[in-house]
């Protein structure tokens, strides 16, 4: 009788232990301007957590995602980060806009809670604040333009046009584009902005046409405004090539910009021929019944990187996780073939500068890789 009592106690204790989870906070944007990016990235993160849990979790515990929606608003983002810390999150993954992620850092730095963003591209996230608890694994804006420029170098451009939108991110990417172009001695003969909610981009494209550039660099991240630019480009019948930021890597352009984007080259962090991508695409289809896209990969990689750090830390102690995260050396879905996320000494931006690719739209589809890296 005493034996069975002991077994019952052990079973009860075991079930209590089994129910214990590792809480990871996830801040996303479900209704704001970043929703088109944040939603698929969040789906990828959820899929990643489910996959880890199916395989037994980490350190014998399941992952529990605590998901919050900050609408990409920095003013409420920090409050949500605080809420997640109070709820016991050992890591926070940020999947909304860069300014919101930046605001969350004020909390994670003070609360000494590890935080990472697998998709934000603003260069300032790891440079403006000296926060040893924050990492960025999304491709930086400066890497994007360096990769695009490396691809365009053979064409020896001297005069180019730059066009963007008035979103925070669009402005940040344009600034990065501009700095790198000017550093390379390339003259920017037209620098235009299409504002959110515009009904046409015709005046901007006329101005660019009048400046007679050899190519146009597109830094905008608002899909609708980018489609206006492509429409005006087609209507005016101009022929200079367009080189775009990673925004064109969002598959929706295959639908909303049908017949407008063929020949446009764009920078991407996703190579469909990479073995990790093929495995992810198959697993995602099997697990969810849906097709995946590159944005799913960002969220998936984010959760996998966190899981990898916790596994190597061997504990949910935040300080140990921080130390393990800094030692990351991990090949994920995103990035060119062979790329691994890692953080150089003292650096917390972990996307390999040579990890991006340039692809081209062909027959209204995102086509082949035409260039890899910044060389």
């Amino acid at each position: 009788m005493r034996f069975w009592g002991a077994v019952a106690v052990l079973l009860f204790a075991g079930s209590c232990l089994a129910q214990e989870t590792i809480k990871i906070g996830l801040i996303t944007d479900r209704v704001g301007i970043s929703k088109p990016y944040s939603e698929p990235a969040t789906e990828g993160a959820i899929f990643g957590a489910e996959e880890i849990n199916r395989k037994g979790g980490i350190l014998g515990k399941k992952i529990e995602l605590l998901i919050e929606d900050d609408q990409s608003r920095p003013d409420i983002s920090a409050a949500l980060a605080r809420k997640l810390v109070d709820q016991g999150a050992v890591f926070i993954i940020s999947l909304s806009l860069s300014p919101a992620t930046q605001q969350q850092q004020t909390v994670t730095m003070e609360a000494k809670t590890p935080q990472m963003t697998p998709m934000n591209s603003a260069d300032y996230l790891t440079t403006q604040l000296d926060n040893p608890y924050f990492w960025q694994t999304g491709p930086l804006g400066s890497i994007q333009i360096a990769t695009l420029l490396a691809h365009a170098r053979a064409k020896n451009f001297k005069r180019v046009a730059l066009i963007t939108d008035n979103s925070d991110l669009g402005q940040a990417i344009a600034k990065a584009f501009k700095g790198t172009l000017e550093k390379a001695g390339i003259q920017i003969v037209a620098d235009e902005v299409v504002s959110r909610g515009a009904t046409t981009a015709m005046p901007q494209m006329q101005k660019i046409r009048a400046a007679n550039p050899e190519a146009m660099f597109l830094a905008g991240v608002l899909t609708a405004e980018n489609v206006l630019i492509f429409r005006a480009y087609k209507e005016l019948g101009v022929k200079f090539p367009i080189h775009s930021s990673y925004n064109l890597s969002v598959p929706i352009y295959e639908t909303v910009a049908k017949g407008l984007v063929n020949g446009v080259t764009f920078v991407d962090a996703y190579d469909p021929d990479k073995p990790e991508v093929k495995a992810f695409v198959a697993a995602y289809k099997k697990g969810t019944g849906k097709d995946s896209q590159n944005l799913h990969g960002y969220g998936y990689d984010g959760v996998m990187l966190i899981a990898d750090a916790i596994r190597r830390a061997g504990s949910t102690d935040k300080e140990k996780i921080r130390a393990a995260m800094q030692q990351t050396n991990y090949a994920g879905v995103m990035g060119a073939k062979g790329m691994k996320y890692s953080f150089a000494d003292g650096k917390r931006a972990g996307f390999d500068p040579n990890g991006m690719v340039v692809r081209v739209y062909e027959k209204d589809r995102q086509g082949r890789v035409v260039h890899v890296g910044t060389k």
Binding site: R30, V31, I33, K35, P36, S38, E39, N166, D191, E192, V193, S195, R196, G197, A198, T199, T200, M202, P203, Q204, Q206, K207, A210, T223, A224, V227, L228, R231, K234, E235, L236, V250, I252, T255, V256, K258
Partner: protein, 281 residues
């Protein structure tokens, strides 16, 4: 010169969209005094209606257009019943329905946001891509001609004018204020939805498209004045031409040209708050 001609057609089409949104405001402000900033969200619903009927179910354009406008009229009527009439019947101040309608704005946007995928959705052109501008201009002129005829030549229109001039006196003369208010919201929503449907092939149907359209339409209304139907169209044209000519020809950095509509709004509110066209005596 070629640039100017291309711009003139484009700005006229943009001005028509702004004018339609301004007309939607005007149809409600004239008899009720209520500024309804949810018109932008009604335009957004019109755009998504175009996506569902014309893209997803591939309806013929005229049928899709008619159903979208009719649906928006019902949405406008329901909005009036839910968010405006109860407040008016309880004698609430004018600010109360305006705030309630701001709440409805959020309800409309969030409903669409959770009902559709996050990406912009394609809406087909009525004709070829290059003919869409002329189609927008033709439809808008027809709508404004109809609105002018309604206000100037029909008894119903006269009753609207009477309510606009003096609400209490109109009620004493036997005009049904409730019906006029309901009709004004239904018509306002129909016109706003049409504006959204017409602009959607260019900008796609997206859940955040409402607020910019609401601001542009309101600015056009302030410029043209709420006194006359033609004012809404005139305001739309002036705003669109000012925006696009500034971007194209003003020697200022691209980003600064975005301030033109707001500058217009401030100048007109300070200098000529009644707008360019004044109401007939």
């Amino acid at each position: 010169m070629q640039d100017l001609l291309e711009l003139a057609v484009g700005a006229t089409a943009s001005g028509c969209i702004y004018g339609l949104i301004a007309l939607a405001y005007l149809l409600m402000i004239r008899p009720t005094g209520i500024i309804n900033f949810a018109v932008g969200e009604w335009a957004m619903i019109g755009a998504f209606g175009g996506y569902v009927l014309l893209t997803k179910y591939e309806w013929p354009y005229p049928a899709g257009m008619a159903v979208v406008v009719a649906f928006l009229c019902v949405v406008g009527w329901l909005t009036e019943r839910i968010a405006v009439r109860p407040l008016i019947e309880r004698g609430a101040p004018l600010l109360a329905p305006i705030l309630a309608l701001l709440g409805m704005l959020v309800v409309f946007r969030e409903t669409i946001s959770v009902s559709f995928p996050p990406d912009p959705m394609p809406v087909p052109f009525a004709f070829e891509i290059q003919d869409q501008k002329y189609f927008i201009i033709a439809v808008t002129l027809a709508v404004f001609a109809g609105a002018w005829f309604f206000f100037e030549r029909t008894l119903w229109g006269k009753s609207f004018e009477a309510v606009a001039l003096n609400r209490r006196a109109a009620a004493l003369m036997g005009i049904n204020l409730t019906r006029v208010t309901a009709f004004s919201f239904a018509a306002g929503a129909g016109v706003a939805g049409l504006g959204g449907l017409l602009v959607a092939p260019n900008v796609s149907a997206q859940y955040l498209m409402g607020v910019p359209l609401a601001i542009q339409g309101f600015t056009a209304l302030v410029i043209g004045g709420v006194g006359r139907v033609e004012g809404a169209l005139l305001g739309g044209f002036l705003l669109a031409f000012a925006e696009q000519l500034t971007i194209r020809y003003a020697p200022i950095p691209g980003g600064y040209a975005q301030g033109v509509p707001l500058l217009f709004l401030i100048v007109f509110l300070l200098v000529r708050p009644s707008g360019l066209l004044k109401a007939k005596a």
